[in-house]
């Protein structure tokens, strides 16, 4: 028991450091900073480079890492985050995701993807309590965190800039009116957060013993959950959240095993959010707005699309491309179309209901597994299994999501993120092995296995999806859902039960996600849980934001650009992801409301 407690404390220490950085930036900018994840991996690799390659002593390398990370943080904030955060926090969030892709890949080019042995700068197993051994290194880490937290709290309480940070985080506009240089405050916060991220990265590497540029992602995600658990924006909450999560996680793994790690983390998060929708120490404002509310709907109008464009698009996508008979284009096209179906269905949740759910991989996986089970065990035809898989995804995802609709704002994004990861983790517990030989669609006894056939099936489903979405938007129901997203308080005052309509919108989105999953399963003919990752969920969100968050047809454009771009950029394999990230940032910078939405 004591062993587990110590393991949890050491782990919680790292989470706390990361969570403080995330909460700090969130407090002053209202932006969830995904780039913070990259600083963990970057900090570790930089420290490895300074110590092993340049031969610097650890005590010199550590401050150097902090300086480099802080400088990078400042550059990122000046060039990308702040210009966007000023008028659109959501666009800024998306761009931080792009920044993190760029940082990770630049670091991979600089240091290679190889896992490296982190130099044992301090003894790490010279002391012991019972059977559990630990070392000077662990004690130094714990005390460093304590000192950093103490200095931070004194700085925030008495320092001039520190007080300005607190004022900005309480009310940005009031702070501005009182003559506080909010821009400077945001820069300082970003710099501190980035340096803390680097520090946490060095600590992770010290503790774990090996590191590579991508090794920060999972710790980053957990630190992010810790920040949410404590209450976004609350620094004390972040520290508490970090330690609570570290300790509970250690005990959870002790009892249920490492395979349920993600389930444990997110179940803790969801339970806490249901009980306290603002996190342990966060405050829930009486009247809160969704992150999407009054931003996309208020700030941009969709471009008017002349009728001939619809006809032209139909002809090009449905007739010209299949006639080209280029199988590579068609197979890439199937991926574009399937993601367009999933994303078009998602616009009702993200755009109309204003809920930025980050866990669509969950319902996609349900659809894929359900469809595989129906065709293989019960010998359903593909054409029956397809809609049934969609229905199952809608029902199961709705039941699982039902407790979280009282949660608001960014918290619901994190809660749905957790939901998606948990669904896939549970599927992995039930069906640990991959499923092979999923039957391909048949048409009166002929197996449809050619790229053209897949493409045409996907195209047909997409057309139906767009028609259904168009019908829903035009209907009374669609307008009610939109009212919830536009102004939840006003909708509530008019007697609209926002919670129920959000759940309904989510169910509709889950239905189309399930359909997409089924299409993927029967095309790949093989599925396993590694296909349905968090990156898949993020891709769906990115597609939707790219095209215009409430425009189903925008999802088609978003899917063409985002999936097509990955293929188009094949001419530069090393720089592919970096160029992709840059394109994403530029699009968000100049079209923050989406490609098909005019700025206003």
């Amino acid at each position: 028991m004591l062993d587990t407690l110590i393991a949890g404390l050491l782990r919680g220490n790292v989470y706390a450091l990361g969570a403080v950085g995330i909460s700090l930036v969130f407090g002053v900018m209202n932006v969830v900073n995904f780039a913070q994840f990259s600083f963990f991996g970057l900090g570790a690799m930089l420290a490895w480079f300074f110590i092993t390659t340049l031969g610097l002593p650890f005590w010199l390398a550590l401050p150097l890492v902090l300086v480099v990370c802080a400088a990078l943080g400042l550059i990122i904030n000046i060039s990308v985050v702040r210009p966007l955060a000023k008028f659109l926090p959501l666009a800024a969030m998306l761009s931080t995701y792009a920044v993190s892709q760029i940082l990770d890949n630049a670091s991979q080019i600089a240091f290679t993807a190889q896992f490296r042995v982190f130099p044992p700068v301090l003894p790490n197993s010279n002391l012991h309590i019972g059977n559990m051994r630990f070392g000077t290194s662990d004690l130094v880490m714990l005390s460093t965190t304590a000192v950093v937290m103490l200095v931070m709290s004194l700085f925030l309480k008495y320092g001039k800039v520190g007080r300005a940070i607190r004022a900005t985080s309480q009310d940005q506009e009031a702070a501005l009116q009182m003559g506080i240089p909010v821009g400077l405050v945001q820069h300082v916060s970003f710099v501190i957060a980035s340096a803390l991220g680097g520090l946490a990265g060095v600590f992770i590497a010290l503790y774990v013993g090996v590191a590579n540029p991508a090794s920060g992602l999972n710790i980053g995600l957990t630190a992010f959950v810790a920040a949410t658990l404590g209450g976004l924006g609350s620094l004390v909450g972040a520290v508490i959240g970090g330690f609570v999560l570290g300790i509970l996680e250690a005990f959870g793994i002790h009892f249920f095993g490492d395979t349920s790690r993600q389930i444990i983390i997110f179940v803790i998060l969801i339970v806490v959010l249901i009980a306290r929708p603002g996190g342990l120490l966060g405050k829930v404002p009486l009247i809160s707005t969704e992150p999407l509310t009054g931003t996309f709907l208020g700030k941009g109008r969709p471009l008017r699309i002349p009728r001939w464009v619809w006809a032209a698009a139909f002809v090009v996508l449905g007739i010209v491309i299949p006639l080209l008979r280029n199988d590579y284009v068609l197979i890439t096209g199937t991926q574009v179309l399937i993601y367009a179906i999933i994303a078009a269905g998602f616009t009702v949740t993200a755009g109309q209901a204003g809920v930025l759910a980050l866990g669509q991989a969950g319902p996609i996986a349900i659809g894929a597994y359900m469809s595989a089970a129906l065709t293989m065990q019960l010998h359903f035809s593909f054409w029956v299994a397809l809609p049934v898989a969609g229905l199952c995804a809608a029902i199961v995802a709705s039941i699982l999501a039902s407790p979280i609709w009282g949660v608001k704002g960014h918290y619901i994004s994190i809660a749905t993120l957790g939901l998606g990861i948990t669904i896939v983790a549970v599927i992995q517990l039930i069906v640990p092995q991959g499923i092979y030989n999923i039957p391909v669609p048949q048409w009166f006894g002929t197996a449809l296995t050619t790229p053209t056939a897949y493409y045409l099936i996907d195209f047909g489903v997409l057309v139906i999806t767009l028609l259904v979405m168009w019908r829903i938007r035009r209907s009374h129901l669609g307008k009610v859902i939109s009212s919830v997203g536009s102004d939840e308080v006003a909708a509530l005052a008019s007697g609209v039960r926002g919670r129920n309509y959000k759940a309904l919108a989510f169910a509709i989105s889950a239905f189309f996600a399930g359909i997409g999953g089924s299409l993927l399963a029967h095309q790949y003919t093989y599925i396993d849980p590694t296909i349905f990752t968090m990156l898949m969920s993020l891709l769906v969100v990115t597609i939707v934001i790219m095209g215009g968050v409430s425009l189903p047809y925008g999802a088609v454009v978003g899917a063409i650009i985002l999936i097509g771009a990955m293929e188009l950029l094949r001419f530069t394999p090393e720089l592919r992801i970096i160029v992709y990230g840059l394109v994403l940032i530029l699009v968000v910078r100049f079209r923050p409301g989406g490609i098909l939405v005019r700025n206003s």
Partner: protein, 403 residues
């Protein structure tokens, strides 16, 4: 409330500006579509320049991760492939035809590996494809290669189902996980060990089938598994799992996984005070350099220190070409072998797609730095009776272990 349904809300102010933007948007979408089509169409290089001269280049495709989570392995493969191609061409190529590779980055992501597969199938100059790295990316691509009658040589796919559930176009020279972990269970038992604690990667395409093979064999030969914990390679802290796994005081410990996760596991296993022999790890930089990894034992196919002249020639050539690489591991050796096997198949059956398949069916005793000589078992499309050598990690090097 106009923001409620913005798409139906059209005012007449700023009409000119609006139409400019509208036209710009329409134009940009159109341009984008054209560019994508053009780019895709140009994806298949015109082989019109090939002429009918006998010295036309033979192209092999490589579908592997060059970026993302598995990029480390993609980089290792590439170094070995490039070396092998250089050597083959220096010796006159395939009956005079030079060999060249076309790389496509799949990130070992099935969404991209199927597109890569279709790209290769559509590129008539490609006569064989290596890859992908992971089974989760290789298996979804298999039907496409089969339909394109293109040999998919998954030289790294240790999941037995890659070939077992595949068609005659799927071949592999990787030892299957079931074979290598049966061997491991047998070997541990042979050391006089009666009980073993186990951790295994909880991955559908690799770790779980491997653990099942280990468990079945252990039961058959009477090796007691005191506790088995599934773990994730993305975790960093295994102490809670490990303290459970050693509760039954096993005499030895086995980890079924890769190098980086084994490095973390062995370090933390020692940190909780466990002292038994560690059967696990991999010849890989981060594991080899981990202080606590010393004394680990695995069954290896390829050994850098193997005195065999062919192996030493390969190691020497590799280090000469890549002076920064401290070690040559099974990954590089596997890729190096794979290219030579493909070249041998093309020499035996011809450089066309059909010819290479014919070649694979006829191959016999191809020289190999991993196996000595490779002959395929034609029913499994894997190497017939692969052999493993017990090796122990000493001072950062794996050496043959006699025990």
């Amino acid at each position: 409330m106009s923001s409620l349904h913005p798409d139906t809300n059209v005012t007449d102010k700023g009409l000119t500006m609006k139409s400019v933007i509208r036209n710009a948007a329409v134009a940009s979408v159109a341009v984008l579509a054209i560019v994508s089509l053009a780019a895709c169409a140009s994806g298949s290089p015109s082989s019109s320049t090939s002429g009918s001269a006998s010295k036309s280049t033979v192209y092999f495709g490589v579908s592997a991760a060059q970026t993302g989570q598995y990029a480390q392995y993609g980089q290792q493969f590439k170094e070995a492939f490039d070396l092998a191609v250089e050597q083959v061409n220096a010796k006159g190529g395939i009956n005079g035809h030079p060999v060249a590779l076309k790389y496509e980055d799949s990130q070992s992501d099935p969404k991209q590996s199927v597109a890569v597969a279709q790209k290769f199938v559509g590129d008539s100059s490609i006569s064989l494809v290596f890859g992908d790295f992971s089974s989760a990316a290789s298996i979804p691509a298999s039907p496409i290669y089969t339909a394109g009658k293109l040999v998919q040589y998954g030289f790294n796919n240790s999941n037995p189902d890659f070939t077992a559930k595949g068609s005659e176009y799927q071949w592999s020279t990787s030892i299957t996980t079931s074979a290598s972990y049966q061997w491991t269970a047998d070997y541990i038992k042979k050391q006089g060990i009666k009980s073993v604690g186990v951790t295994y990667l909880n991955t559908a395409d690799w770790g779980i089938p491997a653990y099942n093979a280990f468990k079945t064999e252990a039961k058959k030969i009477g090796l007691k598994i005191t506790d088995a914990q599934g773990v994730l390679d993305t975790s960093d802290d295994y102490r809670p799992s490990l303290s459970n796994a050693v509760v039954g005081k096993p005499q030895a410990f086995a980890h079924i996984g890769y190098g980086p996760d084994a490095a973390k596991i062995v370090t933390q296993l020692r940190a909780i005070g466990y002292k038994g022999t560690f059967y696990g790890g991999q010849d890989e930089q981060s594991f080899d350099g981990t202080p606590d990894a010393a004394g680990s034992i695995v069954g290896a196919q390829f050994l850098e220190t193997n005195p065999d002249p062919a192996v030493q020639a390969f190691v020497k050539a590799f280090k000469k070409k890549y002076p920064n690489e401290a070690d040559v591991t099974g990954f590089e050796a596997g890729a190096y072998d794979a290219l030579n096997v493909a070249v041998a198949a093309a020499k035996a059956g011809g450089t066309t797609r059909a010819g290479i398949l014919k070649g694979f069916k006829a191959l016999k005793d191809v020289p190999s730095v991993v196996y000595g000589k490779i002959t395929f078992d034609q029913t499994t499309r894997r190497v017939a009776s692969p052999d493993l050598t017990p090796t122990i990690l000493k001072a950062g090097k794996w050496i043959a272990h006699n025990g």
